[in-house]
C-alpha cells in the first residue's frame, strides 16, 4: 500500500479549504485546551479566581506528595489490571468455544456483542441496582449465602462492583477481536497437530494461544486505556468514587478536583500527568502492537 499517491490533484487553495473544518475544530477544542491545561498546571489560582501566579512545578510537587493522589494511582492500577485480565480471560474462553460451534454460531455472536451498545453510565446503574445493599437482587442472594455485601461501606466490595460492571461491558469488544484472531489461524496447522495426535487442550496451549499473542497484547493495551478513561461513567453512576475516595481512579479525581473541589492548579497538573500516560500507552500501542497484528 503506497504511502503517497502517484497521481495527485493540483490546487493552491482547495486542500486548505478541505482540511479547514477539522483544523479549526481541533485547534479550538484540542490544542488550545491542552495548552491551557499545561499552563494552568504551573499556575495557582486563588479561591475566587481573581488572580493567578506562576508557581512552577509546585502543583506537581503538591499532588505527588498528596497521599490521596498516590492512593488514586494505586486504585487505578488495581482497577485496570483486574478489568484487563478479567475481561480478556472471560472473552477468550467465550471466543474459543464460539469458534468451535457451528450450529447457532451467529446467534451466540449476536447475543454476546450487543452489550457494547450499553453506555458505561447505564452499565453502572444496572450493576448498582443489582447490588444495592437494601434492594438489590444479587446482594440479597449474597446475604442469604452468608456473605455480607455492602459496597457503600466496604472498599473492596465497591471495587468489585466497578470491576464487574466494567468487565461486563468490555466482554463483547474483546470477544470480537479474539474471534477475528482465531479466524486468522490457519486450519492446516491445527489439523496437522491433530494428525500428530495432539488433543484439543494440548493444541490450544502449543498452537492457538501463542498465535493469539499479538491479539492478546493488543487487547491488553486497549483494555488498560479503557479502564483508565472510558469507565468514568460507570464509576460516577455507581460508587461516585466512594466509599470516601476508595474507588476514585485518576480520571475521576481530575473531574472531582476540578469541578467539585475547584482546585484548578491541582486538577490541571493531574490532567498533564494523565496526558503523559495516554501518550505513553498510545506510543506503545502503535510501535509494538501494530506491527504484529494481522487480521
Amino acid at each position: 500500500m503506497a504511502i503517497e499517491k502517484r497521481v495527485v490533484f493540483r490546487s493552491a487553495w482547495l486542500p486548505w479549504l478541505l482540511i479547514g473544518p477539522q483544523a479549526v475544530v481541533i485547534g479550538v477544542f484540542f490544542f488550545w485546551p491542552a495548552a491551557q491545561a499545561i499552563l494552568q498546571s504551573v499556575q495557582q489560582q486563588d479561591a475566587f479566581g481573581t488572580s493567578t501566579e506562576w508557581v512552577g512545578l509546585a502543583n506537581f510537587e503538591r499532588i505527588f506528595s498528596d497521599p490521596s493522589y498516590l492512593a488514586s494511582f494505586r486504585t487505578t492500577a488495581v482497577f485496570s489490571l483486574l478489568v484487563a485480565v478479567g475481561g480478556i480471560a472471560i472473552s477468550l474462553v467465550l471466543a474459543i468455544f464460539a469458534d468451535r460451534v457451528i450450529r447457532g454460531a451467529l446467534a451466540y455472536k449476536t447475543l454476546l456483542i450487543w452489550p457494547y451498545a450499553v453506555a458505561p453510565a447505564v452499565a453502572g446503574v444496572l450493576w448498582l441496582f443489582m447490588f444495592a445493599p437494601s434492594i438489590g437482587v444479587v446482594s440479597y442472594a449474597l446475604r442469604r449465602a452468608g456473605f455480607d455485601w455492602n459496597h457503600l461501606l466496604d472498599a473492596n466490595d465497591a471495587m468489585a462492583l466497578i470491576v464487574m460492571a466494567a468487565v461486563w461491558k468490555q466482554i463483547s469488544y474483546n470477544f470480537l477481536f479474539f474471534l477475528a484472531g482465531l479466524n486468522s489461524i490457519p486450519k492446516s496447522l491445527i489439523e496437522a497437530a491433530a494428525i500428530d495426535g495432539a488433543r484439543p487442550w494440548r493444541r490450544f496451549w502449543t498452537i492457538i494461544f501463542p498465535l493469539l499473542s499479538p491479539t492478546t497484547f493488543f487487547l491488553l493495551v486497549i483494555n488498560i486505556v479503557y479502564a483508565f478513561f472510558d469507565t468514568f461513567g460507570i464509576i460516577d453512576a455507581s460508587t461516585e468514587g466512594g466509599p470516601g475516595k476508595d474507588t476514585a481512579v485518576l480520571v475521576y479525581k481530575v473531574y472531582y478536583d476540578g469541578f467539585k473541589a475547584l482546585d484548578l492548579g491541582g486538577s490541571a497538573a493531574q490532567s498533564v500527568v494523565l496526558m503523559l500516560i495516554v501518550v505513553t500507552l498510545t506510543v506503545l500501542q502503535f510501535r509494538f502492537v501494530e506491527k504484529k497484528v494481522n487480521y
Binding site: K5, P33, Q40, L126
Partner: protein, 283 residues
C-alpha cells in the same frame, strides 16, 4: 472441528449459554424491574418475573409525569437530545474526516506532514485529559446547554480521518486518471467516485460513532446544566439522587431500557458494519 468430540461440543454450548446468560442477566433484571411498581421492587427480593406495569411505567418515564427523588425530566425529551447529539457527532465526524482525508491523500501542499501529525496527536488527547480547559472554551463561546456544545468538541478526533486515509490509499490511481481524462475536477471526483466507493467504511464508522455519541457521559455532564438539554444517559444518573430505597426504581429502570434500545438496535441490525468498524478503527 477436526475430530468428533461430543462431550466437548456439549461443554462448548454449555459454556456459551452460561456466557450469554451472564451477559443478559443484568438487562433482564432491569426489564423486570421496569414492569413493576416501585413498592414491589423495594420489597426484597424483587420478583424475578415481569409484572404488569409495563405500559404505565414507560409512559410515565417518557412524559415525566411522576417525579421521583431526583430529576424528573421527561425521558422523551432526553431521548431526542441524545438522538440529535449522536447523529450530529457521527455525521459531522464522517463529513469532516472525509474531506480531510481526501485533502491529505490526494493533494500536495506545504506543511502537509505537519498537518498530518497534528491530527495524529489528537488521538492522544481524549476529552478526559483536558476537561476543564475545554469546558472553559465552551463557556467562553457561550455554547453551554446547546446542541453545538454537546457535539462540536467531539467531532474532530483522528480515528475517522485515519480510517478514510487508509481506505483512500487503496483506491487505484487509474480511477483518478480516468476521471481527469474525462475532465472532472477534484471535487467532482470526490463526490462521484470516492464517496460511493467508501460506502462500507462510512456505514461501519457510522455505527461506532453513533454508539459513541449516544453513550457520551462525561462531556454532557459538564456542559449541560439545564434539564431540557440532558441526554438520556445523564438523565438516568440524575434520577438516582441518593439513598437506594426511596427512588422510583421502576421509572429509573424503564429509562435505562429506553436508553439502551437505540444503540442496541443499531448494533444488532447493522452487525456486519459494526464488526468491520471496530476492527478497522483499531488498526
Amino acid at each position: 472441528m477436526v475430530e468428533r468430540r461430543p462431550i466437548l461440543d456439549f461443554v462448548s454450548h454449555a459454556i456459551l449459554l452460561v456466557g450469554v446468560a451472564i451477559v443478559a442477566f443484568p438487562v433482564y433484571l432491569t426489564f423486570v424491574a421496569s414492569t413493576h411498581t416501585a413498592t414491589e421492587i423495594v420489597q426484597t427480593p424483587m420478583p424475578l418475573l415481569p409484572g404488569d406495569q409495563l405500559v404505565h411505567n414507560y409512559l410515565a418515564a417518557l412524559t415525566g409525569s411522576e417525579k421521583g427523588q431526583g430529576s424528573g425530566a421527561p425521558v422523551g425529551r432526553m431521548m431526542w437530545v441524545s438522538l440529535v447529539t449522536a447523529l450530529g457527532i457521527s455525521l459531522g465526524k464522517i463529513a469532516i474526516s472525509l474531506l480531510s482525508a481526501f485533502a491529505i491523500v490526494y493533494f500536495r501542499f506545504p506543511f502537509k506532514q505537519l498537518v498530518f501529525w497534528a491530527i495524529f496527536v489528537t488521538l492522544m488527547l481524549p476529552v478526559e485529559v483536558r476537561i476543564f480547559p475545554t469546558y472553559q472554551v465552551i463557556s467562553d463561546l457561550h455554547m453551554l446547554n446547546s446542541y453545538a456544545g454537546l457535539t462540536v468538541p467531539l467531532i474532530a478526533s483522528a480515528t475517522a480521518t485515519f480510517l478514510f486515509r487508509q481506505f483512500f490509499l487503496t483506491v487505484p490511481d487509474e480511477l483518478v486518471e480516468a476521471a481527469r481524462v474525462d475532465g472532472a475536477g477534484p471535487m467532482r471526483f470526490f463526490k462521484d467516485v470516492l464517496v460511493p466507493l467508501s460506502a462500507t467504511s462510512i456505514a461501519a464508522l457510522f455505527v461506532i460513532q453513533f454508539i459513541y455519541g449516544w453513550n457520551q457521559y462525561l462531556w454532557p455532564l459538564l456542559v449541560t446544566t439545564n434539564e431540557s438539554m440532558y441526554p438520556v444517559v445523564i438523565g438516568i444518573k440524575r434520577m438516582i439522587a441518593g439513598g437506594d430505597a426511596t427512588q422510583a426504581w421502576n421509572l429509573v429502570m424503564a429509562t435505562a431500557i429506553l436508553a439502551m434500545l437505540p444503540p442496541a438496535l443499531v448494533v444488532v441490525l447493522m452487525q456486519k458494519w459494526f464488526v468491520k468498524g471496530l476492527v478497522d478503527t483499531e488498526k
